[in-house]
Symmetry: C2
Subunit: 373 residues, 2 copies
């Protein structure tokens, strides 16, 4: 349990970083455009070229409307004020970090979603999402290239006495040559999220499609499933027990995937990665089950120490990443120590981002070319 | 265009039916349980064994909270009243019809979703959903049977200059015999919905899985895509032009599906069905393109007249259905006329339901065994 608690502490520190860039508020450019994550036909929320977000909520008889997004140091987010037309409007006090942010709206003391935005599962609920266009967004853009499919599978789980859901990304070539087999990356979400996060928030399928179209990676399969199988679901991480999820993953899901998809069904062709809490799970499961995975990746999700790994020959790659606003030095130091101990270890730091999805999109983009070589 | 307008008028009449059963309000049984469509861990909304729905919204400083669901004849839905704990609570004035209902909450004049419920795309927005357990819900229940997959595909569309999304249900046997080919049902959503509706609200995949497990149908593929490709998106149906969607469906999506999935790629093994506006689209496209589909189905979505169909020999089945609270006589009379004209025509009326998804779940359940025989 000691290892677990160390990782937990690290995760909590990472999560505390602010998600808003600290710059001057003086000159706000009036070039606002609708967020790319808005519901069809909805104008607000909007984002300008500097990364300011502007909100508009219709609630003519409300007393108070506050958006939870705001400058990191400012308690209370962005309060909206009543406009002439009876709607509530407001702009963040500063530019937001590039990338995806969860938010919600507090109306007269109750927490609701912004009717203008699409919802994304985070914080154990469907939350509003907004996207601040990143300067490097091209790598996860929807392009006119061959696209892989993302399919929902429903697999039986005796250990939880339920039918469970997972998503499987198959690369664009999957239907072409029925004799071709593919390696598999098992990719986990963070606390409060679920198996939809890596595709909805993370654009993992588009990242893969683009990398494959550019010839930068050899195609592989990605599988995501729900990792909050026990009491952590609506509580804290303190009493976390990896066993229930480890059983679902290694004894139920992996055999199901290997049976129903054309996988290369061995340790040499299996990777596990996770973000935040998913990194914690990856860390625990890869150490507990060295015979299952050979590539390990923690994205803002803790570190490996060389002495934790019993059989160095079983590990082909250790990838550790975080945002520059998290604790990049800890990541770099851990990788230096792993390298000195003879591991093939790689660190990656996402510039200008915190404990949020742009960090993880970029991390996957860096990780994918290193897998299954 | 005359045909189109006739169908439109019929659709509008269908949609006007109340969605709430008209019975006494006297003795409400206190056996409320959480709706099956609630967000994880959320207690409210709740439903009792009689079909009453009870709501609880936290908004301590609000002046007015009203749920849009209510007795069909009652304007203003179900107003909630402030409870002792500061939350707003209320129960529908009568039992609701069995099955799925969209709803939203008006808080101080603004329209929001219930934070307790999952959201479903309808009315051109993500709306809250609630499920009143149906006495026959077993046919779409998630069971421990072999499950097919539902996969998101992204296909290129030159006519709309975009990459478009569709969902493809492949039956449980799809990955087993790589030489097996399957017929395809193209299944359309209603106005304001999208390609997610038949799976999220309709449970089309579970209906298929269960029918296949019971040996009641031969497996086939189902494809859904977005059918509101032109100005009807946020306007009315009056200026509807079928061309843009017909082009996407017949010249882009079908060739893509036939290329990437193991389909029986001919008219004899292709069906089209749609609910409400999707029925209108089915009606138009099957008449315009008799060489593409041989099975036609309209679910609360208009009628065929015998004289509309030029070549009887090309049509293997015409299926027309609606809820008993819609216009069942019109459906039955149309099918009688089709039979008299020598068509293989079948009518189905869903007992006790209106223009809502239980009608369409049941319709699919009745239709599937009649297809591709």
């Amino acid at each position: 349990m000691k290892t677990h608690l160390t990782i937990l502490a690290f995760l909590l520190l990472l999560a505390g970083s602010p998600c808003v860039a600290q710059t001057s508020q003086s000159a706000i450019k009036e070039d606002f455009k609708s967020s790319s994550l808005n519901q069809p036909g909805k104008k607000y929320p909007m984002v300008n070229s500097q990364g300011y977000a502007r909100f508009r909520i219709e609630a003519p008889d409300a007393q108070s409307v506050v958006v939870s997004l705001g400058l990191g140091g400012t308690k209370g987010g962005t309060p909206l004020t009543k406009a002439k037309d009876g709607s509530w409007m407001g702009t963040t006090a500063g530019p937001m970090d590039e990338g995806f942010h969860y938010y919600h709206v507090t109306i007269d003391g109750g927490v609701f979603n912004d009717p203008g935005a699409c919802n994304f599962y985070g914080s154990t609920r469907w939350e509003s999402g907004i996207e601040i266009p990143a300067h490097d967004q091209d790598f996860y853009a929807l392009k006119d290239v061959p696209h892989g499919n993302v399919q929902q599978i429903l697999f039986p789980s005796k250990s939880t006495n339920s039918v469970r859901r997972a998503f499987v990304y198959t690369p664009p070539t999957y239907d072409k040559d029925v004799n071709q087999r593919y390696p598999v990356l098992y990719l986990q979400h963070g606390w409060g999220e679920n198996e939809t996060a890596w595709f909805n928030q993370g654009h993992a399928n588009l990242i893969m499609d683009n990398l494959i179209a550019e010839g930068k990676i050899k195609p592989f399969i990605i599988v995501t499933t729900y990792g909050m199988t026990n009491e952590i679901r609506f509580g804290g991480l303190r009493n976390f027990d990896i066993k229930p999820f480890q059983t679902v993953l290694t004894e139920e899901l992996i055999p199901y995937v290997d049976k129903h998809f054309r996988t290369k069904a061995d340790q040499a062709h299996r990777a596990m990665a996770g973000l935040s809490m998913g990194g914690m799970e990856t860390h625990m499961i890869t150490l507990n089950k060295p015979e299952v995975f050979s590539y390990y990746a923690l994205l803002s999700g803790g570190l490996y120490k060389p002495e934790e790994i019993k059989d160095k020959s079983k590990v082909k790659l250790i990838f550790i990443s975080c945002g520059s606003k998290e604790r990049p030095d800890a990541v770099k130091n851990a990788v230096t120590a792993l390298k000195e101990a003879g591991f093939n270890a790689v660190s990656y730091v996402s510039e200008g981002t915190a404990h949020e999805f742009l960090t993880w999109r970029r991390s996957l983009h860096e990780l994918a070319p290193l897998l299954f070589k």
